[in-house]
């Protein structure tokens, strides 16, 4: 497959996904049965519901409604939030930088911790270092993030009074949510680094390098690590997407004012336009990240295009 075909193929797929995302966020309100009564606040009268039904064009055929929905969405209008009485999409976009900050901080943390930990495990196979790293990563994969968050608040905010328990504003606010969100990624990446590193260390050129008298650190970090970075970076890209999803839960534990917390509040108050906007924005971001990662690697590593 040539690069151009690959790019075209991948962009077409992303567009298909975006179409599905739009159908889904359009269709969500129909899952409730009567979209008109779902679209009004709980204290609305039957007359209000009728006004909404006509006002939103809910008496029209579905394809007409979908067309209008997409038209409005493209103009940045996904309806007013019931609770905040302003454009719901703008509300979501306003909160987006906070979520991105949290996800990126967690990803950096996960990378910085898991690469040395994975290398340690691979070089000390079946030794104490390996058992420690493997056990720790297993534990991190199995821990529910929201529970870890509560424990961290109990320890670092309540008992030791070192860090704030909730809110945002300074780097100190970022520490606990980022650690909480990063934990399962650290576990996953450590295992991945350990597995690929073990594989790479068996290769002939590593043996050659050590026979030539290259130092152990140089072998590990100059020769071996570079070769296990491609799978690691690919998974990192996918993890960024997973972190965006995980942020929904973690943000609500720490009252971190991002899209995730906004979404959870929206769900609690049945603020449907807000839920719709949040879902659409997070999903679109996820699709964009996946596309970027794939395109980058398709260009860098020819093996991926041919797979």
């Amino acid at each position: 497959m040539s690069v151009a075909t690959y790019v075209l193929h991948r962009v077409a797929q992303a567009l298909l996904v975006l179409f599905t995302v739009s159908v889904l966020s359009f269709g969500l309100v129909y899952l409730t049965g009567d979209p008109a009564s779902a679209l009004v606040p709980l204290d609305a009268t039957p007359d209000d519901v009728d006004v909404i039904r006509r006002g939103f064009g809910l008496d029209q055929p579905l394809y007409v409604q979908y067309g209008r929905f997409v038209g409005r969405a493209l103009r940045g209008d996904l309806g007013q939030s019931f609770r905040y009485r302003t454009n719901s999409l703008e509300l979501v976009i306003e909160r987006l930088p906070k979520t991105v900050l949290l996800a990126v901080a967690s990803m950096v943390l996960a990378t910085v911790v898991s690469i040395p930990l994975g290398v340690l495990a691979a070089t000390a196979r079946r030794g104490p270092g390996d058992y420690l790293a493997t056990g720790l990563s297993m534990l991190m994969i199995s821990t529910p993030a929201f529970w870890l968050g509560i424990l961290l608040i109990l320890l670092f905010a309540d008992q030791l009074a070192l860090l704030p328990a909730a809110g945002a504003g300074s780097w100190r606010h970022l520490v606990l949510p980022a650690v909480t969100l990063a934990a399962s990624s650290i576990g996953l990446l450590t295992r991945l680094v350990r597995a690929t590193m073990t594989e790479v260390l068996r290769q002939g050129y590593i043996v050659t390098a050590s026979a030539k008298g290259v130092s152990r650190a140089a072998i590990l970090y100059r020769h071996a690590l570079r070769n296990c970075l491609i799978p690691v970076i690919t998974v990192l890209g996918l993890q960024l997407g997973a972190l965006l999803g995980g942020a929904v839960v973690v943000e609500s534990v720490f009252a971190w004012p991002g899209v995730g917390w906004l979404l959870v509040q929206g769900i609690a108050t049945r603020d449907l336009p807000l839920i719709r906007s949040a879902v659409l924005v997070i999903a679109t971001l996820f699709v964009a990240i996946n596309l970027a990662v794939d395109l980058l690697y398709g260009c860098v590593d020819p093996r991926i295009r041919h797979a």
Binding site: G246, A268, F286
Partner: protein, 264 residues
Amino acid sequence: MAIIGVSIVLSAVAVAVAAPVLAPHDFKKQQLSKALRPPVWASGADRTHLLGTDQLGRDLLSRIIYGARTSLLVGAGGVLIAGTLGVAVGLVAGSAGRRTDVAIMRIVDVQLSFPPILLVIAIMAFIGQSLLNVVVVLGLVTWVQYARVVRGMTLAIREHEFVEGARALGASQARLVLRHVLPGVVPATAVIATVNVSTLILAEASLSFLGLGVQPPTPAWGTMLAEGREVFRLAWWNAVFPGLAILLTVLGVNMLGDALDRGR
């Protein structure tokens, strides 16, 4: 590691099945006079409540024991739905010809490029929240992993000589797939299924924590954690023990999955 994993999983299943026998109290009996009692080893404890009580004076241990039922039911039910659907779709994609294959894999790709927890949250926010809905939605969101792997294996197994041989002997397509290909994908499917169970249990806990999962009075570890969180500064045990139950169960399942993967 395999032995520890198996023991944890079997214990969790035993606890869930024998909940009525094991639970020292009625899990829904409220006693406001006994609210927020600490575990037995702390001062001010009520000796009949081993792990203490919640804000309504309900016995925490009994609720955790019954909560195992919810988690395992979601794990087992979700795997059944996701596994059956995923394996069936994977077998069809791998054996029915190029066009069907491409069409199915396109659907799989689309679903994989969607953050699963977001999809589940979005759907659960709109349909009613019940145990059945949680199981069905989680099952329908996680089937793709099975489909991808099974399809790949089906394509590979079809090339083997014993399948060629069976075809030459006049075996029908259905017989080829069910008798010769299906047994070959079972080990890989078992590994995916264990990983899937831990994902499902964690996802159910997250949903219940957000109030989108199993609804009270049915005890679920995620719901208990959400309730415990409201009082965790006064009564840490309400937030700590349910989480420990989730961690231990998921850890057991993951250890089992690791062992299965290595033994393959």
